[in-house]
């Protein structure tokens, strides 16, 4: 029995399809979800979602969000999600540099802006990491 998996972000559907297994970064650690999993509602950490179908993996980065797990269905409401293959490494690198410099340059940041920059930094780190790890040919296993 396959699981129906949907990954949506606020402005698009990132992934939708039937799969055999979903691995996602839950609030209390990474969870692997197989068919007939008991219902869970969890918040997501920054991390990697792996969607496996017949030992072929598709890998997505996710920057927080919420996941709803039902026996035959996994729905991910992501804040920002991206297929690893879509990541623009140069842009991510540039974004990381910008965020780092801004954090360094401005000594007296108000907390809101500080948090936002930190989130941006975290996001670009995640992207670069994921691109490094998962790029280059289809992967088997993780």
């Amino acid at each position: 029995m396959p699981i129906r998996c949907e990954i949506v972000s606020q402005d698009r559907v990132v992934f939708s399809g039937d799969v055999d297994m979903v691995i996602l970064p839950g609030a209390d650690g990474v969870m692997g979800i197989l068919p007939n999993h008991s219902p869970v509602l969890t918040t997501l950490n920054y991390g990697i979602i792996t969607v496996r179908k017949k030992s072929t993996d598709q890998v997505f980065t996710v920057a927080g969000g919420i996941a709803e797990v039902q026996p035959d269905q996994v729905t991910v409401l992501a804040d920002a999600a991206e297929n690893v293959l879509e990541i623009d490494v140069q842009r991510a690198e540039a974004a990381r540099k910008r965020a780092e410099e801004a954090l360094k340059a401005e000594v007296s940041l108000d907390s809101d802006r500080y948090l936002r920059l930190q989130a941006a930094l975290k996001r670009s780190h995640l992207r670069l990491e994921a691109a490094r790890k998962y790029r280059g040919g289809p992967k088997f296993g993780s």
């Binding site: 949907e6 949506v8 972000s9 606020q10 402005d11 698009r12 559907v13 839950g26 609030a27 209390d28 008991s38 219902p39 869970v40 509602l41 969890t42 918040t43 927080g64 969000g65 919420i66 709803e68 039902q70 729905t75 409401l77 804040d79 920002a80 809101d112 936002r116």
Partner: protein
């Protein structure tokens, strides 16, 4: 009567104007389509998020509702997010949304704080000495969710810190190219109505027993602010579609009037030209007569 030369210049300049307005009309038409597509792309997330939200809000034994879902007993202050455009030349678009917003203020009869999205709206509010707490002008032409999520965050913060007790969204709902309606919509506290047909009503039921990680309230903490931001985002996209549609119609009207004006001017020009030829002929005829009678 102006000279024929002046009139020719005038006609040419009006013709140029018509060309410019026609170009603007075409550009706006394509922008409407873009904004509508972006609006449609938010649907999957909005539907799913709403389902999860409703599911959480109606958990049995969930007595103490989340603060963002709880209606307050007394309403002291209200926050209104008014969405207008950065640019003019869109007919009555900005005036309509302002009038609608001021009506809302009158109806509420409470002190109102404003957040302005769009330069035109901000200027009009400032001119009326309204209490503006934030201004989000100069959004990109096709904003992404990240561009506007700050508005949602600010709204939730103001509400949670009890500076305001209700939050309204005032925007222009896009229906068709010729129909856009200024609309207000309460976004906080978030109302979940069971049964019925309103925008916030639902008949959704879930019976499965869920495990929550970390717990229900923390998940609500995550999802409601996101949902609020999403509503703001959708309102902005809808308003942008409306703005471009309004501009398109305004520009079409301008093109039509310019063409009409050209017709009128052309007629006047012909008359003046005819008159001057007649005068010349009369002069010549008069001169010839004078010569012949003299000889």
């Amino acid at each position: 009567m102006p000279s024929t030369r002046e009139m020719r210049l005038r006609i040419r300049s009006v013709k140029n104007l018509a060309q410019v307005t026609r170009a603007l009309e075409t550009v706006s038409a394509s922008k409407v389509r873009k904004a509508m597509n972006a609006y449609g792309a938010t649907r999957p997330y909005a539907e799913k998020a709403w389902k999860v939200l409703v599911h959480l809000a109606r958990q049995p034994g969930h007595q103490s509702l989340h603060p963002l879902l709880t209606e307050r007993d007394s309403i002291e202050r209200v926050l209104v997010v008014m969405i207008s455009s950065d640019r003019g030349l869109a007919g009555a678009y900005n005036v309509n949304i302002l009038r609608h917003t001021l009506d809302l203020e009158k109806q509420l009869g409470k002190p109102v704080d404003y957040i302005a999205v769009g330069r035109k709206g901000r200027d009009m509010l400032v001119r009326r000495r309204k209490h503006l707490i934030a201004d989000f002008s100069d959004l990109p032409a096709a904003p992404s969710f990240m561009d506007v999520s700050a508005i949602g965050r600010l709204v939730v913060k103001e509400f949670l810190e009890r500076r305001v007790d209700q939050v309204f969204l005032s925007y222009t709902e896009f229906f068709t190219m010729i129909k856009q309606v200024p609309t207000t919509h309460k976004i906080l506290p978030l109302e979940v109505v069971y049964g019925g047909k309103g925008p916030n009503s639902t008949n959704h039921r879930t019976s499965s027993v869920f495990t929550y990680e970390p717990d229900q309230n923390q998940i609500l903490d995550e999802i409601i602010p996101r949902f609020t931001a999403l509503q703001v985002y959708k309102a902005i996209l809808s308003s942008q579609a409306s703005e471009h549609a309004a501009r398109m119609v305004a520009m079409r009207n301008a093109t039509d009037s310019a063409n009409e004006l050209v017709d009128v001017l052309q007629l006047d020009y012909n008359k003046v030209r005819q008159q001057s030829i007649t005068n010349d002929l009369l002069d010549i005829a008069g001169g010839a007569n004078a010569l012949s009678s003299a000889s």
